[in-house]
Amino acid sequence: MNWDIILSTTLKAAIGVETVWYALAAIGINIHFGYTGLLNFGQSAFLAVAGYGLAVTVTVIGLPFWIGIGVGLVAAVLLAFLLGIPTLRLRADYLAIVTIAAAEIVRLIFRSVEFKSVFGGSDGRRGFSQGFYEINPYAEGTYGFWPLSFNEREMWVLTVGWVLIAIACLIVFLLMKSPWGRVLKAIREDEDAVRSLGKNVFSYKMQSLILGGVLGCLGGFVYGLATGSVQPDIFGTETTFFAYTIVILGGAARVFGPVVGASIFWVLLVLVNGLLSGAVQSGVITFMDITQVGPFRFLLVGLGLILLLVYRPQGIFGDKRELAINAR
């Protein structure tokens, strides 16, 4: 087994680009689910419309990078309205059903043959990130020290990504300490009680859906810029479910829960992958071959999630006291 590589990839995963864009997606889910109690199972669609908004604006229409970012953000806001207006007046489970369906519709439109000239079908779009790397302040070279070293492109993406995470966390922190956040948390507990106290519940749910969608969609930009491409299948439902796993792992309704959750999630995933691959290659494990390692680790994710919900349902930062109340 190559311990150097396993150690290095695992450490990199803790702050790597996967962690960054999943953390952003999970911060959005935390606002929806953790604070407001909205079951949005279509988070991947917010990332998709942002990523594609940027990609199509730059590559197909030929407009500058920053306009692409603007288009992506507007697309995320529009998606929130589209999902929210028909469903937010209904019972919570309707939102879950509609969002999961909408996310699949969005993905299928992006990968459809019909719109291949715009969205590029299942290959997606590439070649829209020059504008981003042109303003890269890092000179060419390798940064950091072993086992944590990155090239200048990775450094730039990670810097921007972690700044975005910091800003998103600051926004969540400020909001959730404020009376605005109090209304959200109250809606999570009992909508009717909030109505009886003169608050427009629909409006607050909408604001929550938009905020979580916009913060989450930043993850779509980060993915697109880091890989220089967007493909429809990256934004499938499993992206949403990973984000939920991350929120539960970190502890719902905690400011840093999604960030720590994302970090741990990817560290574990990469570590297990490294160990299993190593074990298979060196013949320690014989009951599977190297191609089965990928799927197998997701099986472990599922198992981990079950164990987590049984033994530590409040997550890492969660408050056991709150949970006990919930069960009453």
């Binding site: 909001l175 009376p179 605005w180 956040g181 109505r195 003169g198």
Partner: protein
């Protein structure tokens, strides 16, 4: 001084009702709430069909009726939590039918729920603060600038603490509302409703499931509301309480208002007896039959006592 104004308020409320006929839908001298032809059907069942009813300003009005009479459903229509099939009603002369629940509350008509709705994973204090109206910090952009709402929040907190002290919940201030007992939740819900600074408080069975000692203090609080110039409409099953605190009683049965009157005589109204016992209950017992039944009961009781003392 306080006692004096208290008796004044009560006297004023009672005086308003003094010469009113004991008829359903009777006009009140100064109604805060006027309801006309409110109908709510669930499939074939007509849960509410109220022709006309008025609630007097500055009084405590009880709404009573057998289980399933439609009291809660009626509350739901009036407060915008459910849409009436037809009918209209005015609050302070303002049309309120079709107005969504949160706007009803903002207009000054605040209700509590039969099944208490404490916001479990918010602290008692946060529950209270939520009730305050016109909060700057409830606007998204202002929320991001703590300085813009801190001052108001402090004033709200001071008011919340005052109410919590009055409702003997100050010791629970920092606890999660979900950790309160059933009776304490009732108290919290009432105190929270008062944070809205309503003109009309609508309480759906505020005493249900509350122990007798706490009931006394709750009754005191309800009377207090009238002293502070609020009007109260409350649903209650316990007639002793109704007699104790209400100035006027409205009786509902099978969705309709069937009788109105002062609390001390309402239960002897034939229509009310019919509603509670069924129109075809046995004719009134004769004197001798009554005595016989009384003896039987006494004998049974004595036998029981002897049994126990053995």
């Amino acid at each position: 001084m306080h006692a004096e104004t208290a008796t004044d308020r009560k006297a004023a409320a009672l005086a308003a009702f003094k010469d009113l006929p004991h008829e359903p839908g009777v006009a009140k001298p100064d109604p805060i709430l006027v309801v006309d032809n409110v109908v709510r059907r669930f499939g074939g069942l007509t849960a509410v069909d109220v022709g006309h009813v008025e609630v007097q300003r500055g009084s405590i009005t009880a709404l009573i009726g057998p289980n399933g009479a439609g009291k809660t459903t009626f509350f739901n229509q009036l407060t915008g939590f459910d849409t009436a099939d037809s009918g209209e009603w005015t609050f302070n002369g303002r049309k309120m039918n079709g107005v969504p629940a949160h706007k009803v509350a903002r207009a000054g008509m605040v209700r509590t729920f039969q099944l208490t709705k404490a916001l479990s994973r918010l602290t008692v204090l946060e529950n209270m603060r939520l009730g305050a109206q016109g909060q700057k910090g409830e606007n998204f952009w202002r929320a991001l600038i703590p300085g813009s709402w801190r001052g108001q929040e402090d004033r709200i907190t001071a008011r919340a603490d005052e109410l919590l002290a009055r409702f003997k919940l100050d010791a629970k201030r920092e606890d999660f509302a979900g950790s309160l007992s059933g009776g304490q939740r009732k108290l919290l819900e009432m105190a929270r409703a008062l944070m809205v600074e309503p003109e009309l408080v609508m309480l759906d069975e505020p005493m249900a499931g509350v122990n007798p000692a706490l009931t006394q203090s709750l009754l005191g609080h309800v009377k207090d509301l009238r002293e502070q110039g609020m009007s109260v409409l409350f649903v209650e099953h316990d007639m002793d309480m109704v007699r104790d605190i209400s100035d006027w009683v409205i009786v509902m049965a099978q969705g309709a208002v069937i009788a109105e009157g002062p609390p001390d005589t309402i239960m002897s109204d034939q229509r009310v007896i019919d509603a509670y016992l069924g129109a075809h209950h046995d004719a009134p017992l004769s004197e001798s039959e009554l005595e016989e039944q009384l003896h039987e009961a006494e004998d049974a009781l004595e036998a029981e006592i002897q049994e126990e003392s053995k």
